[in-house]
Symmetry: D3
Amino acid sequence: MERIAIFPGSFDPITCGHEDIINRAVPLFDKIIVSIGRNEDKKNYFTIDQRLGFLKTVFAGNIKIEIDTYEGLTVDYCRKVGANYILRGLRTSADFEFERSIGQVNKKLYPEIETIFLLTHPEYTSLNSSVVRDILRHGGNVSQFIPEGLSLGLGF
Amino acid sequence: MERIAIFPGSFDPITCGHEDIINRAVPLFDKIIVSIGRNEDKKNYFTIDQRLGFLKTVFAGNIKIEIDTYEGLTVDYCRKVGANYILRGLRTSADFEFERSIGQVNKKLYPEIETIFLLTHPEYTSLNSSVVRDILRHGGNVSQFIPEGLSLGLGF
Amino acid sequence: MERIAIFPGSFDPITCGHEDIINRAVPLFDKIIVSIGRNEDKKNYFTIDQRLGFLKTVFAGNIKIEIDTYEGLTVDYCRKVGANYILRGLRTSADFEFERSIGQVNKKLYPEIETIFLLTHPEYTSLNSSVVRDILRHGGNVSQFIPEGLSLGLGF
Amino acid sequence: MERIAIFPGSFDPITCGHEDIINRAVPLFDKIIVSIGRNEDKKNYFTIDQRLGFLKTVFAGNIKIEIDTYEGLTVDYCRKVGANYILRGLRTSADFEFERSIGQVNKKLYPEIETIFLLTHPEYTSLNSSVVRDILRHGGNVSQFIPEGLSLGLGF
Amino acid sequence: MERIAIFPGSFDPITCGHEDIINRAVPLFDKIIVSIGRNEDKKNYFTIDQRLGFLKTVFAGNIKIEIDTYEGLTVDYCRKVGANYILRGLRTSADFEFERSIGQVNKKLYPEIETIFLLTHPEYTSLNSSVVRDILRHGGNVSQFIPEGLSLGLGF
Amino acid sequence: MERIAIFPGSFDPITCGHEDIINRAVPLFDKIIVSIGRNEDKKNYFTIDQRLGFLKTVFAGNIKIEIDTYEGLTVDYCRKVGANYILRGLRTSADFEFERSIGQVNKKLYPEIETIFLLTHPEYTSLNSSVVRDILRHGGNVSQFIPEGLSLGLGF
């Protein structure tokens, strides 16, 4: 049986932390689908097309990684694309308690799914998309927080 | 002196976790008032009348449990109804830190009040009303997360 | 049915924190048994007789409080003395995770038991018996950490 | 080299907790700039002028404390005013994880900055501006939570 | 490249929690080596031979699972047996902080290793070998905490 | 008034994490006394003379840093040497809860003392002396975990 994982998120924008977890997980799976959860209620900093573009740029050339978007429950999307694993990174104990809750509910909704966690690299523990957006809003330089070579189209 | 507790909350909607804590606390108190805090600023998923209806259905027949609503500070409501205890469930350490803060402030505002905590059943650790609403929004089935026999009037 | 709680511990020695939780819980129960768990493997600072003496001194005159000792599993002791509640104080989130584990295991061993938690007074959050022993070992003054009027027989 | 710290915040309104940390840190620094971060996106309870007024009242007469406001990234403001330290209080482990993330990102953006933490007094562990605003909204009395002698202009 | 994981531990004794994590991880790996870390300094409840016997009984018939013991650093053992993954279960946030520390140090000592975490089933959150030993010491019944059908040779 | 801090610890052995905190705190204080708490009850890996030697080597040439040892309560030592600050690093939320307890007790025993915390560098979050000792015991290489150029006299 193929080992297919999804890595769900908003990726608004993708950070070095996301990139690191996904690249380190590649050998473990036959395919990783990095998929943007569309959420109409949430105001995003970057449009869905911009975020898709960032992901495609960062993972171009990696044949085991696919880029996608989805709506609705994550477990329903897993069923649809045949994924049996959800991949997540863990940074802090607050992170852990949040992810544990989501992971346990997902397993109740879809018992075949398994959430697999990797540890975030220590250097990226303090990093998330919200921090990057906050710096962007104030005109700061985020180049050390986003994947190398990625241009957010904002002059960086 | 009578042991009267309130169990305050939004109950939007009531979950198995709420139901379990309240039922297990019944022998400890002479009366438990399950009371919905009305908060004009907060947008709710279910109306106050729907939520009241759910509570009345779930606890029908239990003569030690009353259903009510209140506005304003919880401690002022306790004074008004003669409650000397606030009942709460604890699921996670994030929960605990949140509840400790509220409990300590309540005690400063009303030194006679005592907050009493029970442990949430392990099976319900990941469960809260927000999880239930999120699944409802995406058309998922929440029957395993809400009290047995309760219909949310949404086809479940 | 009578509401009987045990408050188990080593009480080596009793601190202001223990005293505060027990006194605040008195109105909630018909009887509270403050009971020292005898543990041969653990080296204690005060003898069992000294610790019993401290407890008897502190709670003398309170007819709802009994002092006792026990060996073996706490839940077996609860069954023996007819207690349906275990009373505990919560200070920190580390405390909470420790107590949750014990509480859940106790409930699996004896489903009729309910662990009831009260919040430690903020002033006593940093206090425990180990802190008191550590200060005693170094010749410090612990009078502000132990019940008023209690003499540990050490010149304080 | 002068030791200049900023204590950034919303101060909506200042609490006893803020006041206590700042006063205890005065001997450590040559100057402390208590500075309100202006954030257009955030709806505040008190206007910027009211909040400035509260700060000036509370710290009047302390020649080592300056009151100011700023916009943009905190580290850019530190550079501008020549501050090499950011002063913060720590109350809970949730606090700590939040502050650690901000402190680590600030150090990546401005390696010369050092965040210095003091422990909040136990009595103020549960206290923050949001608690005070919540009590105010419900017509409660906040006098025990704000600096002595401060009038919020609301009848307290 | 083969995906080989080790699941290191004392297994003194194996619990339902260990068994559950290992069985759920089987589809993810080509081989899982469940290996007892020999530690001369630590006093164990069961002998190494007893613990090996328990593991062999529980995983008999699963051709993807091997049972072994090792001495020295876990990463040195991984190198020796060609394992590129360390498998661990996560129960609580205290667990997480402990495992994160070990996982980060292991990665510094052996950058090719990846620690993979699964969530413990909610029912087993409070369970660990130390709890089982404690119940055994007091003559309690541990059958609900250890793998079904396992006899600890103690009358259970 | 002079700003004198002590940095107390076992330093068994000193790690990169200790060195980093102390060096970053030097500009904040007029003097930092790095002092080894002698504890007869605790079995150490390195002798007190070896540990003193390591500290002297690492901080040689820094005229603001003194090396010392002490017995008894830390606050009594502070009084003796005229220190008004205790310096500590914070790595994790478990760390924080432990340090908060010690800091609050110290302040109750000696109200003039202030504990000052700095954030550990992310790279050293998982590092402590116990990790270093564990690697040494198993014959591993600890050079990346201890101050550059320090020889532990063990062939590294």
